[in-house]
Structure formats: C-alpha cells, structure tokens
C-alpha cells in the first residue's frame, strides 16, 4: 500500500468538503474492496476520507412506501434490520448472503453500489426494485446509475448518502455463489410492483448488471415459476471466465430466475 493521509470527518457535508479540497482523495467506507485494491497497488489515493464517523450516513428507516437505507449501513445491519425483513424480505436475504459474516460486519451498501462490481449482489436489487441512489448532490434512478463494469453515474466528488427502495408486493433473490469468493456467478433479483415486473441479473453480464426483458414479459402473464418454463437466456454478451463459460452462465440465469420467483411467491 502506498502512503496516504487519513481524514475522519463527522458528516457527509464535511466529507464532501475534504473530497473537493484534496487532490487524488478517495472515500473509505467499509474498506473491503478499497483496502485489498490498495494493497495490490491497483489504487493509490494520496488521501483517504473515512466515512466511518459520519452519523448522518447511518440508519435504516421506513418512509411511507419506501425503505431508506443510509450509505454506511453494513450488510449485516441490512440483513438483520426488522424494517427490511418486514418490508422487503428478499433484500434482507440478499444482504445476508454477501461474502461471509466478517465481510458483512464491515462492507456497506454505499460502497458496494459505488463500486458496481459485475458480480456484486446489491446492483441486482437496486435495478429490480427500481431504487433511487441519493447523493450529496442529486437523486439518480438505478436504471441510469449502473453504467458499465465498475462504472456508475457518480461524478467526481459525489458521495452516496442513502439508497431508497420502493416497497414492492413481491421480491426474491437467488444466487449461485462462486464457492471460493462467495460473489455471484449468477444472481437474479425479481420484483413485482403492481403490474410492473423487473428481473435483474448480476454476475453474468459482460457490461455488469442488466435486466432480462423476456423473463419480465413472461412473468407479466402470471408471476409464477411455471411461467418461465422453456424460456432460455441468450449467451450473447454473457461473461466467460475460468469460473464458468457463457452457456453455463446463461443456463444459470434461467435456473436462478425461477428460484427467485419461487422465493418471492413463497412456493
């Protein structure tokens, strides 16, 4: 790891001020992506702005028909939150299957969403639930937020403050884990809000998380696992690497989608 100066602001506002002032500064949240990257010298910020003391980025609340999750909420906090478990159980389930218990005690939703790893779990939930990513400057719809591999709509100096999830009538998540890393080989989040149905796939896309329109159309007729019978995801644009080839991943998309719908419908 290269040397850096360390800063620990007490609020998101102070953090934004520091971020604007320091050249080559980076935000530190749970550090479970950033610190390993810095150890490998793939990132070498000269200043780290630690959000750990920003109380205004913590907390999970229910606001009308939404659940609002502070950016510094850890995966464990989301998984154990009574509010999330009650309002969007599929989201609590997703958080409880990120990495291992130690990772869940440090990693945060803000860090995961900002990082947009193509195999990360939260991007699928954000896209399927139609979440809004709120920053210190603006609100960004999930549809416009995840722009490519490790790429997001975030501008320089922008800090995610919270993620707002609409409470949907049905939601479920299924992930086929890479047994070593626990990241998604393929993960599928399905959500039904009124007649609006969304299916978001992570782990599989060459360009990161994406929606699967054919499955959405099939589930519109009836939101049940059976509606997906015979439907195959195309292997076009699907990731191939040492863990799985494109055909296998495409096959898993179908299987995981079925499982996610089964979870969402309690079948």
């Amino acid at each position: 790891m290269y040397a850096f100066t360390y800063h620990r602001p007490g609020s998101a506002r102070q953090a934004a001020g520091l971020l604007a002032k320091k050249e080559d500064a980076k935000i530190l949240a749970g550090g479970h992506t950033l610190l390993p990257t810095m150890k490998q010298r793939l990132a070498s910020p000269t200043a780290l702005i630690d959000l750990g003391a920003c109380g205004d980025l913590k907390g999970i609340v229910r606001k009308g028909r939404t659940v609002v999750i502070g950016a510094m909420s850890t995966h464990a906090e989301v998984a154990e939150s009574a509010i999330v478990q009650e309002a969007i159980p599929g989201l609590a389930y997703l958080a409880s299957h990120i990495g291992d218990p130690h990772v869940r005690h440090r990693g945060t939703i803000g860090g995961s969403v900002a990082n947009n790893d193509p195999a990360a779990d939260y991007p699928a939930a954000c896209l399927a639930l139609g979440a809004t990513i709120v920053t210190n400057q603006r609100k960004i719809e999930a549809d416009a937020f995840f722009t490519g591999l490790y790429e997001t709509a975030l501008e320089e100096g922008e800090i995610i403050t919270r993620v707002v999830f609409p409470v949907v009538s049905k939601a479920g998540y299924a992930k086929f884990r890479n047994p070593a890393s626990r990241y998604a080989l393929v993960g599928v989040f399905v959500a039904k809000r009124g007649s609006d149905i969304r299916v978001a796939v992570t782990g599989a896309g060459e360009g990161g998380v994406f929606r699967w329109p054919e499955a959405e159309a099939a589930l519109k007729a009836r939101f049940a696992p059976k509606s997906l019978d015979g439907l195959k995801a195309s292997a076009e644009g699907i990731n191939a690497d040492m863990h799985a080839d494109a055909d296998y991943r495409a096959h898993l998309i179908g299987v995981m989608t079925k499982q996610a719908v089964a979870q969402a419908t309690g079948k």
Binding site: A3, F4, Y6, L35, P36, D100, H105, A180
Partner: protein, 170 residues
Amino acid sequence: MATVSMSVNGKAVTGSIDPRTLLVQFLRDDLRLTGTHVGCDTSQCGACVVHVDGKAVKACTVLAVSLEGASVTTIEGLAVNGMLHPMQEAFREHHGLQCGFCTPGMIMSAVDIVNRRGNDLDEKVIREDLDGNICRCTGYHNIVKAVAAGAEAMGGQSMDQKEPPRQAAE
C-alpha cells in the same frame, strides 16, 4: 503519522502510527499480541479475525487508525485468570486443530457465531457461518464439532472480555 486510541482486551492503548497500518499489524507489531495471525493478507482466510465492538472482522482489512475509540478483543483476551475460554477448551477437547495456524481466527469467529445465534447451533449453521475461515489441515469436521460443543458450554453469555485478563498464577 497519526494517533489512535482504542481499548484492546480491556486495556486502553494509544499508538502513533502510519495511517497505512492495518489493525493486524498494530496488534502484532506494535502491541506484540501475536496470537492474531496473517494467513493470506487478502481478506479470504480469516486467520486474522478479531472482534471490534463485539463483532468479528478481518483485521487484515481494517485500518487501525479508523478504530478511534473502538473496543477490540483478540484471542489473547478470551482466557480469564489463566482459565481457557469454553470455546478454546472445546477446540482442545475435540481436537479442533492440527497445526493451529487458523485456530485463533476460528475461535474468534466461533464466539461471534454464538453471540449472534445463541448456544444451540446445528452443523449447517456452523459450516455456513465459518465460510470466511479457511483451514488447510483439519478438513473442518472436528472444528464443527468443537464449535457446537463450545457454544453449548458458553451457556448464554457473551464472552468478550470486559476486564483485562490477569496473569495466570504460576
């Protein structure tokens, strides 16, 4: 350099450190608490697991400087008055180790599982929650047995030390 103060095994400590210092380096190199191990240094193996404010974390993936005011418990903080903690005792009793390299992290993770899930743990839960701890020797079977027995022996209370452990009588 940066200054950080925290409580380690119930004792107040202050260090003047390079901000790059990982918690595991601070514990091992500055405080000479070498029970916490470094297996991979890439956040995978769990040999470095300690508790921060009562929660298991990988000490190789936390900056010491970010723990201002925190309360840290390491494997050295579990025994009281020279008596092994029930989870340590269970690992000994059930032969839950061979070379012992993974053991401090396994035990700290096991105590964390009990803190989160209580004393009655089935094998599936134990295996699932030891996901972040790798052992190259045992094949896990006896570790799982040890964790179940240790959990039962812990009988309800959280076992993070509030008081500094005193020296064992010779």
